[in-house]
Amino acid sequence: MDTLLAALFTGTSRGAIYALVAMGLVLVWRGAGIVNFAQMGQAMFSTYIASSLIMNGYSYWLAFFVAIAAGALLGVFLDLAVMRPLSNKKQTELLSSASMRAAVPVIASLGILGVLQALAGVFWAAEERGFQAPFAQEGYTIAGRVMPFTSFDLFVMSVVTFTLILTVLFFKKTGVGLAMRASALDQEVAKLSGIRTNGVRALSWAISGAASSLAGLLLTPTSNLSPYTLDLALIIGFTAAVVGGLDSLPGSVIGGFILGFVISFVNYYLTPEDIYLAILAVLVFVLVVRPRGILGGKDTRRV
């Protein structure tokens, strides 16, 4: 029973973070038409910045917000420096093939990931660091028994819930949010409505960068920080996004929690080494049974 409770709690708090990662991927997919495989590399980079600030004596909270801002800026930079020139490229023989046109942004984002990981080496010697959050990592003790959730878990849950609510309000109620939704759905009609689609696209990169940096900040306290720790988060986020539907923001949240529970249960009831296989199983299952995902629309199937 204890194990079950622990698994549920961990599943919820981790699931919330994976929802953030998935959301970031979906935002850029909708806004720019690519899956940004470098996303968690950006998060790793921002988290290293935060870590360095903390190591140099600045407060956690300052580092926290600087990291999120850095993530947003890095996202915009990548859009302007790499992805924009990529999509403006004239037709060459190689690019006349539809499958190569789809492959090129994937390869570019992998290149970005490699560069970010190498930069982590250049700037911070790629050293593995601990990353302490100012919250207790031990469970609360209630009535003499240690509960399976910690104050850090509560922090994670509240931050993510707040972020999700903010995101929903942003997209449903604000003009910018409407502009973003419109551009993602039909770029031509959006342009004809006077929406500056280039700015909107940069904004999706910025928001995605911020969300993923937040996810990185929330993930690293329970593991160590190294250039590669967040790679697992990327594939979990990707799987979560596919499960929920790559073009659906609510879907990415659902997918995140599903993955959170699956991984949590695998951790508690099987062995941690089984995680990769579990993720693969979930991914293959969704792609075979319902490729568009739980909430995905039918015209986005690339399968």
Partner: protein
Amino acid sequence: MLEVRDLTTSYGSVVALNSVSLTVVESKITTVIGANGAGKSTLLRTISGLEKPASGSVTWNGESLLGKRPEEIVRMGIAHVPEGHAVISALTVEENISMGALFRRRTHKNDIAQATEELYTLFPRLLERRKQLAGTLSGGERQMLAISRALVSRPSLLLLDEPSLGLAPLVVEQIIDSINVLSQKTGLTVLLVEQNANTALSVADYGVLLSLGKVAAYLPADELKADASLRAAYLGY
């Protein structure tokens, strides 16, 4: 006033517009008619910035439109309702309309509310369905919505591409009438592309007959309508 001079637009090796010149007179309805593939849609798409011409010029009140992005051209007071897909099905009627005025939100909040109300008065069916997804609307309602999206920003020039496509004659009449009334009341300049030459020429002040990318005739509408030989040669009736 919209001035088009020697405009040439190609798609690869296909020349869609071949040195087209015309003037769209202020506050009047000019219609562009012609057979399928004559280049009518390309003309509108080049003016609104969706297509880049190979040569020629397009000026609106003296200012050149070439090289500007579509979203900037909208801000100059030119609204384009493309043919076919002009509304976003996954957004509600309300959202589709407010989409058209987003770029003015900061400066013209009250006017937008006013404009929206006027449009709901003009198209009451939209008011009824304002919280529904645009994808659930009928063809005629979608066209009304598309036009509303364009008009909510109070443009000075409306580019309307084949509003009658796939619609019942009664609905077409209603829509064209509304445009006519609007133009009379507000001085809106309209460039109307239409397959249905008869309907178009009955409301228009001027008519441009486009054939294979070239201007075959540019006359006051009633003259064009009355010219049987032109009609036979280019429109087949």
